[in-house]
Amino acid sequence: MFDINPGLMVWTIVTFILLAFVLGKYAWKPLLKSLHDREDAIRDALDQSEKARAEAAELLRQNEKNMARADEEYQKALREGKALAEKLKEEIVTKARQQAQQELQHAKEEIQRDIEAAKQQLRNEVADLAIKAAEKILDENLDPAKQKKLVDSVLNQLPKN
């Protein structure tokens, strides 16, 4: 059991060396290569997913910022719109009120003028009527004597110059 057999030793060495070369070329190299490739692929995939996650987080952050800004702008626009509308309303109401006032004034003046005119006309007409009535009365009541007397009285009333 303990005797050394040089032939068997040579067999072992030769077999081992051949095995090492053949396995090295046809087994270990492809196995280690596929292992290495896979490790690289996994590392890359992990790195990429990490990067993608960071990018997504960045995008989300930006989105939120944009949303906040948009919201702010919307609120501002709403506020401004409201203010503008308020101002316009104020202006329109003021203008309308002024116009109404003006028109009222006009109307009043018109009415005043009409009243004046009517008064004038009435006066004229009354005067005419009075004159006509007077003429009629005079036509009926005045005889030449009376006419003479009246003319005299009028003539007397006239200034003496």
């Binding site: 059991m1 303990f2 050394i4 057999n5 040089p6 032939g7 068997l8 030793m9 040579v10 067999w11 072992t12 060495i13 077999t15 081992f16 060396i17 051949l18 095995l19 090492a20 053949v22 396995l23 090295g24 046809y26 087994a27 270990w28 190299k29 492809p30 196995l31 280690l32 596929s34 292992l35 896979r38």
Partner: protein, 308 residues
């Protein structure tokens, strides 16, 4: 359990040697004293290849004498299982490599191989040798798987453990020795390698130091050789001893005890098959790593001019 049933002995993977002994013991009418040596013949190298239903005489090749050493290149049982293990490993590893190329995610045999490869790379080669040792990884992988397959083949019924032959483990240790020296010379340069053999002491002490250092180079692989051989032999001897108890007691009633114990030892041997392949590989890479790194760590006074 019947002791005189040959198939019972066969099923416990003892092959014909054990069976023959059983029959011999039975045939001799319980009168003859049991010879444990016959049982151990089963473990010795022979020119007989046993298989279910018979045995085959392996071819003899005339011994060649070279420089006073006689080389017997006959295809003995252990040579046969050595080659068988090599071919089996070749087929399995080739299959695994092909499968792993096809699938993005390894499965089955490819996955199995990859588990060991990743372990040997990350837990054995890298910690012991550093990133510079990765180029020796194919050697370590071959060592590990070759020893593992040889150990496991020995546990299969009718199989023989080539690694329980000291010549085989010596062959493996010689290769380990060469690899340790090559890696050391490659990493340090031949000059530093020789300088290291002086142990860094004063030249007066060199006559003492150099032989000790050279002896140190040989003790490491020698320990590898003996460790593997003894471990693989030991388990078999324990199992055979347990089975031998049946014949010593000459009673079928005692049989269940050794059989159960032998079953336990078989399981232990299964573990030892993996463990010893790992230990051999791990120690080889450790010794290689020591040779590769020692110059970077130590600062020997007598070759300070070679400072890095």
């Amino acid at each position: 359990m019947r002791i005189d049933n040959p198939s019972a002995a066969d099923s416990l993977q003892f092959g014909h040697a054990a069976t023959d002994t059983t029959q011999a013991a039975v045939a001799s009418g319980h009168g003859e004293k049991f010879d444990f040596g016959h049982l151990l013949d089963h473990m010795k190298n022979s020119m007989d290849l046993e298989f279910p239903g018979g045995h085959l005489e392996l071819p003899h090749i005339a011994p060649v004498t070279l420089g006073g050493v006689t080389f017997d290149f006959s295809i003995s049982k252990h040579v046969f299982f050595l080659l068988f293990s090599a071919l089996l490993l070749l087929a399995m590893a080739g299959y695994a490599a092909r499968k792993n190329r096809q699938h993005r995610v390894p499965r089955g045999v490819g996955n199995l191989f990859e588990i060991f490869i990743v372990f040997l790379r990350d837990e054995v080669a890298l910690p012991n040798m550093g990133p510079g040792g990765i180029k020796y990884l194919p050697y370590l992988l071959t060592t590990f798987f070759f020893i593992l397959i040889m150990n496991l083949v020995g546990l299969v019924p009718f199989g023989a453990t080539a690694t329980s032959n000291v010549s085989v483990t010596a062959g493996l240790a010689i290769i380990a020795f060469c690899m340790i020296q090559i890696s050391a010379i490659h990493a340090q340069g031949f000059k530093h390698y020789l300088a290291h053999l002086t142990g860094g002491v004063h030249p007066v002490l060199w006559p003492i130091m150099v032989p000790i250092e050279i002896l140190g180079l040989f003790t490491k692989p020698f320990a590898l050789c003996i460790r593997l051989f003894a471990n693989m032999t030991g388990g078999h001897i324990v199992i055979l001893s347990l089975i031998g108890l049946i014949f010593i007691f000459r009673s079928p009633y005692i049989a269940p005890v050794p059989v159960i114990f032998a079953l336990g030892i078989s399981m232990l041997e299964l573990f030892v098959a993996f463990l010893q392949a790992y230990v051999f590989t791990m120690l080889t890479s450790l010794f290689m790593g020591l040779g590769m790194q020692v110059e970077h760590q130590e600062d020997h006074g007598d070759h300070a001019e070679h400072a890095h």
